[in-house]
């Protein structure tokens, strides 16, 4: 069996994060000082550190607010790649694979897992140890790759998807933008608040429907 790999993240930022252990038991990480070690499903600890560093540059934690690090984006990406999505179970993957015009979209054979493995090689083993400016320089050389486009998309998804998918810890992404979550009703609000933001207290899907909801990535073989 594969050796279990963990990533250490600052616990303070991950308050309220619900994660599933490898035994599929939900556990809640309590906000506390220090670091927590979260089990990884797909990445090795070293890979997770590299991807995490790249996500931090795409969606940085800075004076405008928290970013990928606090939201636990790396956990989101790890879960996605470990599940059916990472294996392309929801893409047509029969050959022959031929290059075509841009109007036909991505026609390659590589699945998201393979694209990330390739991307990790391009990021380089030293990426996490570079200073921010050097990291940005390297990312700029990758901007037109499938890997970078995917990483950028996944970083945004990890910031703003429901915490059931592993990111958006403590609804931090939703709090950052003032999105109230998948609430059942805006009947009272829809024709009011014209031009004014409506900031209800954010609620996760679990809080809204009253029971845990599992994402596709939990259906693993």
């Amino acid at each position: 069996m594969k050796r279990r790999e963990f990533i250490a993240l600052p616990a303070k930022s991950l308050g309220g994060l619900l994660i599933y252990t490898l035994a599929r038991v939900p556990i809640r990480i309590k906000a506390e000082e220090g670091t927590v070690r979260l089990p990884l499903r797909f990445f090795t600890a070293k890979e997770a550190r590299l991807i995490s560093a790249a996500c931090d540059r795409i969606f940085p934690s800075d004076e405008s607010g928290p970013g990928a690090q606090e939201a636990g984006v790396i956990i989101y990406i790890d879960h996605q790649l470990a599940g059916a999505y990472g294996l392309d179970r929801y893409r047509y993957t029969k050959g022959p694979f031929v290059e075509s015009v841009p109007e036909h979209g991505y026609q390659g054979e590589a699945n998201p897992r393979a694209i990330y493995r390739d991307g990790l090689r391009q990021l380089g083993d030293d990426f996490a140890d570079l200073d921010a400016a050097k990291q940005d320089d390297r990312l700029r050389t990758l901007e037109n790759t499938m890997f970078f486009r995917m990483l950028r998309t996944h970083t945004i998804e990890g910031m703003f998807s429901d915490p059931l998918h592993g990111g958006n810890a403590g609804l931090i992404g939703w709090q950052l933008i003032g999105y109230p979550g998948p609430q059942m009703s805006f009947w009272d609000e829809i024709d009011k608040n014209y031009g004014q933001p409506w900031h209800g207290k954010p609620m996760s899907l679990e809080q809204v429907v009253g029971h845990p909801v599992k994402g596709w990535e939990e259906d693993r073989e």
Binding site: Y90, T93, H104, E157, F160, I177, Y179, M184, L205
Partner: protein
């Protein structure tokens, strides 16, 4: 292969039209009806509650798994077709209810002239001035023939809206360009969100006649003629591409299925993937399918109804060897011809004030009819034969989709601190004006079977040959100009139309799941596959329902018209065919 006990009618596909045919037949006859659905059983409200997850929506969890079956596409007969490997331009549903579960519920009627479009264009322009390869056809019935069925469909779903033409009298606040209605809408217009009100005001200032977009999402609690009660919409913003978690949006599962489950002569078998229509000597004998366990079954039936969406209707007929495949070179054959889609344009408006775009419902907004239908009627200088409604709506936009919409020049990168800051500044302050233009049919746009790629059972995929012509590019440019003027009148910073530089049809982004044609209706077997009652010209006990029957695409969402045409077909089936089986025309 196991041979099952024969039934009177087997329906392939448990979506809107399959369940509607089943409802009409089981309600008005004692015939036994079996519906075979390739996807799973009906989902319930709690399944849809659990599905209020933007990531699930973006991963198409509610759609057919494209890994099992897709289409191939090429722009012309000279190109090599490749598969649409991930969803983009259209998104077939799966499971009981089909795409009718995840639709946006916009429910316009088509313009009266659409039903006799070939005649209309010939009369107006003369055949010599029309594009050379134009393949538009009349439908074989008129708007007036269809009106009563439109009304039935609107009542069944409880469409909310405001009539603009009631029995010939124009009504303030509705669409003055629509065909005459025999009745006001079953339900009044919805409460309105902020952004569309900006659009309405600007449109009125420009002299247009904006009207609330009709939707099959209820504006109030409603009981339909079948006694099915559904609640009014709560504007949760999880609508198009989601199933409704309270049943306010009309879906087959909350309108037709509750009626059907009470019928003793109805049965529904999910997880049954139909692969062939079995036929001999010009008569359908049943269908073969793979069940959930992977076992091949033969379901004999006196009547076969194909209701498996545009793509699969055409494909099943081609795979089964029913009818004459269309050849675009010789123009011979009818099966697969007149493939159409719709042409979309989206204009971003950087409003700058919060819009609360996460609230809303499919089609919650206003539209203009001035440039739909036959726009030269309104604007003699319009360089196009058919136009589009222009709309502003708030369907409900989640943060993954919303975040990162920023005006050009606000950040010189699409990631990093400066981008994040600009994206935060503009989050929830960007609306859009949209159109979905009518798509005329042309000789060169058609469907046939692909010779390379196959589905999960090894059957050939359907191949789409489709590209825009000069007419569609003129449509896009013309409509964009009007949209830009509206955006300026709103006082917004107007972005570039998103698709303005595109030369060719693309499978990579959503253009509405409004793919039509391939099994078109018409008034002669030389020009169409089914007659105006959706009965196969050469195989009278085979009926084929859905948008596959449309000879060209109008600028409007097709579901309401699909349902109206199906009601008309079901009535002919019950009143005429059942009494005297044989060709109706």
């Amino acid at each position: 292969m196991e041979r099952l006990k024969p039934v009177d009618v087997v329906v392939v596909g448990g979506g809107w039209t399959g369940l509607l045919m089943a409802t009409e037949i089981t309600s008005r006859t004692s015939l036994s009806v079996v519906v075979l659905e390739r996807g799973g059983p009906a989902r319930d409200l709690s399944d849809y509650g659990d599905g209020m997850d933007e990531l699930d929506m973006l991963r198409y969890r509610i759609m057919q798994n494209i890994a099992d079956e897709t289409v191939t596409h090429r722009h012309s007969g000279k190109d090599r077709a490749v598969p649409m490997r991930q969803y983009g331009s259209f998104k077939p549903g799966t499971g009981v209810g089909g795409a009718g579960e995840h639709w946006g519920a916009i429910s316009n009627r088509y313009r009266p002239d659409q039903f006799r479009l070939a005649t209309h264009l010939r009369e107006k322009y003369g055949a010599a001035r029309l594009p050379e390869n134009l393949a538009v056809q009349d439908w074989g019935f008129t708007y007036d023939d269809l009106e009563a069925y439109y009304w039935r469909a609107e009542q069944m779903m409880g469409v909310s809206g405001k009539a603009g033409n009631l029995r010939g009298s124009l009504i303030e606040g509705g669409d003055p360009f629509e065909g005459p209605r025999s009745h006001e809408f079953p339900n009044p217009p919805h409460k309105m969100s902020y952004f569309p009100t900006l659009f309405r005001k600007a449109a009125q200032e420009l002299g247009y006649h904006p009207f609330p977009i009709p939707t099959a999402t209820l504006s109030q609690d409603y009981s339909n003629p079948d006694g099915i009660v559904r609640p009014g919409c709560l504007y949760c913003g999880h609508c198009s591409r989601y199933g409704c978690m309270i049943g306010a949006k009309a879906q087959p599962s909350n309108t037709l299925l509750p009626v059907l489950t009470r019928k003793k002569n109805f049965s529904l078998r999910p997880n049954c993937w139909v692969r062939r229509v079995v036929h001999r000597d010009g008569k359908a004998e049943g269908v073969t399918y793979m069940d959930a366990a992977g076992k091949e079954m033969l379901q004999p039936a006196d009547v076969v109804v194909l209701s498996s969406w545009t793509i699969n209707n055409a494909r099943l007929l081609l795979l089964s060897g029913v009818g004459d495949p269309y050849d675009p070179v010789t123009g011979r054959g009818t099966l697969g011809k007149n493939l159409t889609h719709q042409l979309t344009e989206e204009l971003p408006l950087y409003i700058g004030t919060p819009l609360n775009l996460f609230m809303g419902a499919g089609g919650l907004g206003y539209a203009l009819g001035e440039f739909a239908g036959d726009p030269p009627g309104q604007d003699p200088t319009a360089p196009i034969l058919r136009g589009s409604e222009i709309r502003a709506s708030t369907g409900g936009e989640g943060p993954i989709v919303s975040f990162g919409k920023i005006p050009q020049g606000e950040a010189n990168s699409a990631w990093g601190s400066a981008w994040k800051k600009a994206a935060l500044k503009w989050y929830d302050k960007v609306g859009q004006i949209t159109c979905e233009a009518a798509h005329l049919s042309y000789r060169q746009n058609y469907m046939d079977l692909d010779s390379t790629y196959t589905d999960k059972f090894g059957d050939p995929l359907l191949r789409l040959t489709l590209d825009w012509t000069g007419h569609e590019k003129r449509q896009r440019a013309y409509l964009a100009k009007i949209m830009i003027a509206l955006g300026k009148a709103i006082g917004a910073r107007v972005g570039a139309p998103i698709h303005e530089t595109e030369e060719h049809y693309s499978v990579t982004y959503s253009q509405g799941t409004h793919v039509q044609g391939g099994v078109i209706l018409g008034d002669s077997p030389e020009r169409s596959v089914v007659n105006p009652w959706l009965q196969h010209w050469r195989m009278p006990n085979l009926w084929i329902t859905g948008g596959s029957a449309f000879p060209q695409n109008e600028s409007a969402n097709p579901t309401l018209t699909i349902l109206a045409v199906t009601y008309r077909a079901a009535e002919a089936f019950v009143d005429r065919y059942v009494k005297k089986p044989g060709a109706l025309a």
